[in-house]
């Protein structure tokens, strides 16, 4: 049994996705063995993030500024909004470098069982944004899972009355696949081949 603070560190690390108790112990040991080159810089990075990173009040992205750098960038097309489930998906799109519009990050998918409803996904916020721009196109880039498709169906239904152009990503998306697992070429092709919904 390790000392209590180390056990606490392991317990917290084990809550991270992809880390079980065993890999959390390995990660803790790796940190403790390199106090100057790993532990201290990590602590500093965590502190900076904890103090500065927030959710963008426009799109839901994570950044140190609000609105986020993407929302504040005048070169990004305000009449093209890509709706994604998670910040990871936004990152994947940005890595691909094929998208010059802006985002709406839902932060999840609809699930009454898990008490995730339209409020949790910021749907009203999205609708207000869309209502302000008559020529806007909304691209629904949700995963091909059942939850993703239910949510896409819901959003299309809510967006229809705004008169906005609604599209979804084109071919190349695997069934059950999530955006952040796709390579850049596939993402670019799916974006270029987007098709109207409904």
């Amino acid at each position: 049994m390790a000392a209590a603070p180390i056990e606490e560190l392991v317990r917290l690390l084990a809550k991270l996705p992809g880390l079980g108790p065993r890999s959390a112990r390995r990660a803790a040991l790796a940190l403790l063995r390199r106090p100057d080159t790993l532990l201290a810089p990590l602590l500093a990075a965590l502190e900076v993030c904890a103090r500065n990173v927030r959710r963008c009040s426009v799109c839901g992205n994570l950044d140190t500024t609000d609105p986020c750098a993407i929302c504040a960038d005048p070169d990004r097309d305000p009449d093209l909004v890509l709706v994604v489930e998670q910040v990871e998906d936004l990152w994947a799109m940005e890595r691909a470098g094929a998208f010059r519009g802006r985002y709406h990050v839902l932060g999840g998918t609809l699930s009454a069982l898990d008490a995730v409803g339209p409020e949790e996904l910021g749907v009203e916020r999205l609708l207000r944004r869309v209502a302000e721009r008559p020529r806007i196109e909304v691209v629904l880039a949700l995963s091909a899972t059942v939850a993703g498709q239910t949510t896409a169906h819901y959003l299309a239904e809510r967006l229809k009355p705004t008169g906005a152009r609604i599209t979804r990503l084109g071919y190349g998306l695997p069934v059950g696949g999530e955006l952040n697992y796709l390579d850049e070429g596939t993402l670019a092709a799916a974006l270029a081949g987007r098709r109207p919904v409904g």
Binding site: V146, H153, Y154
Partner: protein, 391 residues
């Protein structure tokens, strides 16, 4: 998703078979290492000896919770054994492979290993290990409510369509999600419509897969009646009826519309008034036309086993591989004539069959062809193999 059943191909039919079985700390079995001979295996012994436990161990190699639907920790040997593990070398159309299933130490979870590597994909497992079983718990299958019959049918479907179990689970989850919305009085029409559209899409796929299976079984049973009595099957349900005269896409729309119209009612009942979760499998004796529920207990058992054998044959014809059969206490209610018919049917089929019973005399028709394992208190106390089955 509910794709058409594969084309019938005349390739040689393999029989999936367990070649070696090892157990540890499962129910009343401390340890077992068994080289399995060719031909039927008959487990004989008094009640509580561990015959069904051995069949259950085999059933755990296939996806699902096994033939007793037990939770992982229920399977640990009492009072001090565990965690349990089952490992088998199997041979079938995918060649020879090792499948191991066991409870994870300190967790209410199973680990599955394929050739020593973790296997998470249930569909892949369903593809590799297909098993059909009959247990005394099914003695009331034809009298019970339709839920048990649907579950039975879904298990059969799974051995042909590895994704079927996931589809059924998705469908049920979507129904629960809708029920929560309705119960909480959240009449968000767009949310409900989105759910109902998915429920309809997945539900119609589930219904279509069941319907295809029932049609294929009916055809297979009629084309080649075996020594066991035949059955006439029908699926009774609204969605199945719609599928008879309309394309699936149209049926999806119709089901979604029916669900939208029943929201008020469903909010009160907590369920859903439409969908394949309300369908039933109707089984009749093909010879007399009588409903199975009205037949004698012995006849019912014979009908059920006959149905399993027809399904096994169908899987052989469609996929080129016969599933393993686990027949627990099936001869108990059969007379001499039916027991002889069963022995003949098993021989004609050629699938690996595991049978159990308290009285060796019930399996006289298999004398000289089957291996008889005498079981007592979680051990094999007698092992009598037919001369030709030396391995």
């Amino acid at each position: 998703m509910g794709q058409a059943l594969p084309e019938i191909r005349p390739a040689p039919v393999a029989a999936l078979a367990v070649e070696r079985l090892r157990l540890r700390d499962l129910r009343n079995w401390a340890r077992l290492d068994l080289a399995v001979p060719a031909g039927p295996v008959v487990l004989v012994g008094p009640n509580g000896a561990g015959k069904t436990n051995l069949l259950e161990a085999l059933s755990l190699l296939a996806p699902g919770r096994g033939l007793r639907r037990a939770a992982p920790s229920e399977l640990d040997r009492r009072p001090d054994g565990g965690p349990w593990a089952v490992a088998a070398r199997l041979a079938g159309r995918h060649g020879v492979f090792e499948m191991a299933v066991g409870r994870e130490p300190g967790a209410e979870r199973r680990t599955v290993l394929l050739d020593g590597r973790p296997l998470k994909d249930r569909g892949r497992r369903a593809e590799l290990v297909a098993m059909l079983w009959s247990t005394p718990a099914q003695d009331r299958l034809f009298q019970e409510g339709p839920a048990e019959r649907r579950r039975f049918l879904d298990r059969l479907t799974l051995t042909l369509d590895p994704d079927h179990a996931a589809q059924v689970a998705t469908y049920e989850r979507l129904l629960r999600d809708r029920a929560v919305l309705l119960r909480d009085g959240r009449r968000d029409p767009a949310w409900l419509a989105a759910l109902e559209a998915r429920i309809a899409a997945v539900g119609v796929a589930v219904a279509a897969a069941r319907r295809q299976l029932v049609a294929a079984l009916t055809e297979a049973g009629a084309a080649e009646p075996g020594p066991m009595p035949g059955v006439r099957l029908a699926l009774e349900g609204e969605v199945e009826r719609w599928l008879e005269d309309e394309p699936a896409a149209r049926v999806e729309e119709r089901l979604a519309a029916a669900l939208a119209a029943s929201r008020e009612l469903d909010a009160v009942s907590g369920g859903a008034a439409h969908g394949p979760h309300r369908s039933d499998l109707l089984v009749r004796d093909a010879a007399s036309g009588e409903p199975a529920a009205a037949c004698s207990t012995g006849r019912q058992k014979a009908l059920l086993v006959g149905l399993l054998l027809t399904h096994a044959r169908l899987r052989g014809a469609l996929l080129g591989e016969l599933p393993i059969l686990l027949l627990d206490e099936v001869t108990a209610h059969m007379d001499v004539r039916r027991r002889a018919a069963l022995a003949r049917a098993l021989e004609e089929l050629g699938a690996q069959a595991w049978l159990s019973g308290t009285d060796r005399g019930l399996f006289a028709a298999l004398d000289g062809r089957a291996t008889f394992l005498e079981i007592d208190n979680g051990t094999i106390v007698g092992d009598e193999r037919p001369s030709h089955a030396a391995r």
